[in-house]
Subunit: 145 residues, 4 copies
Amino acid sequence: MAELKMTAEEVSGFLADVFPQLAGRFEIVELAPMRARVRMRMQEADLRPGGTVSGPSMFALADVAFYIVTLAMIGPQALTVTTNCNINFMRKPAPGAMLGEARLMKLGRSLSVGDVTLTSEGSADVVAHAALTYAIPPQKAGAGG
Amino acid sequence: MAELKMTAEEVSGFLADVFPQLAGRFEIVELAPMRARVRMRMQEADLRPGGTVSGPSMFALADVAFYIVTLAMIGPQALTVTTNCNINFMRKPAPGAMLGEARLMKLGRSLSVGDVTLTSEGSADVVAHAALTYAIPPQKAGAGG
Amino acid sequence: MAELKMTAEEVSGFLADVFPQLAGRFEIVELAPMRARVRMRMQEADLRPGGTVSGPSMFALADVAFYIVTLAMIGPQALTVTTNCNINFMRKPAPGAMLGEARLMKLGRSLSVGDVTLTSEGSADVVAHAALTYAIPPQKAGAGG
Amino acid sequence: MAELKMTAEEVSGFLADVFPQLAGRFEIVELAPMRARVRMRMQEADLRPGGTVSGPSMFALADVAFYIVTLAMIGPQALTVTTNCNINFMRKPAPGAMLGEARLMKLGRSLSVGDVTLTSEGSADVVAHAALTYAIPPQKAGAGG
């Protein structure tokens, strides 16, 4: 369970196929067993008056970063879905790009559990922290994965 | 604390001024002390392949519905911010409009706490449930706010 | 899925067998499909200076009330375990007995999801609110339940 | 804000005074700015059939560990209270002692936010992970703390 089943390139390609609307917003900066660092570029729709990043956009970064690390560990399964997300918002983000550092703490047969720490690019201050659970659909015997 | 300080029209007007990017997406269907029902129209960007609603869009509905009920009870304070949101995603939503039923369980001087139940329009099945906390900024003495 | 598989008496008997250390602390006041109301008597160890109820004791009430409603709907399965619990503590409880009103929002094959609202006996004010998820172990074919 | 205001001995003494019922259960193993490691000895009441640790006992460890790190940073303020706790339970703990590694991610004037990672002594596997928020009461001007 402790090894990557996909490279960053493979995960990016899979995401681009399955969620084309996310294209260009998220970039995998680093990928390692049970860990991923993902960068979110800001678009007009992500910003709020004053230049700060919206809550739903930060939720999206947490969700995508955790999806990426889960996918990289289990292989390409589009049906994997978020079942729980708890976010604490702590500081106002800077208007620029944000980073999400995702960490898997448990990778079971049916659930993947961990957290994502969000920072503004260029600062170590935690902007938000999310704990997430993903449900992994049962594997069909003999399925390619 | 148990009475509305703003009507649905006043809250809608305030939102349109402060968050113009939300215009046309959210509609206050019902507003009562400590309760609000908010409707989210779907836009292309809210949908995922298969026609289902994205997680970040459901987060946005929960967040906006809770902001609306808090604002209606405390009066127009744009600086009120989400500090915690915990969402359980339970069922795949239908592709159409969604409703968020927000309920305040505590309205204190510095925190507003409650939940939002999300359903697809026309169905009673709970699609997602969010518990939220908002921080209310300290009132300036003599402020009209 | 919408009918009870156990009566309050059956659930109480099962709990007393499997968790004898809980005996005398919790009482099922009401049981209906997808809902349960559970009363927690206070013991010395539940109290904090000033007579208030401790956080872990409120967590215990939320957890047991949700276990009871899940069990009543799926039948006696001791291996059902809490996977997530999010609690918001809102008011100081009175020193006496507390009630937990549990509600199932989703009962799937592998997960049960819902919430529990905690009040002090004799007051309608919400003291705490918990959202919970339980994992239900896979049923063995032909098992008695 | 980044320095300890109390030593481990001072925090332990304060806890023993204010929460005498916790005496002997919790031990501060390590204390550093924004971090604490706390050990929970098991008592009969903490265990469940099969020798595993109960959910409420794990909640108690998370809560106490986070209280300790908050207190050590802000000074002795008994009125500091938990407002939110989100726990993910991931693995069955071993029957022995458990460790809680608490980390403050934000220490503001009115809220302290962070997480606690729970492990069984002698194992690196995460048993449970909790995100917590504590409300810090307003400081009286000139108060000794």
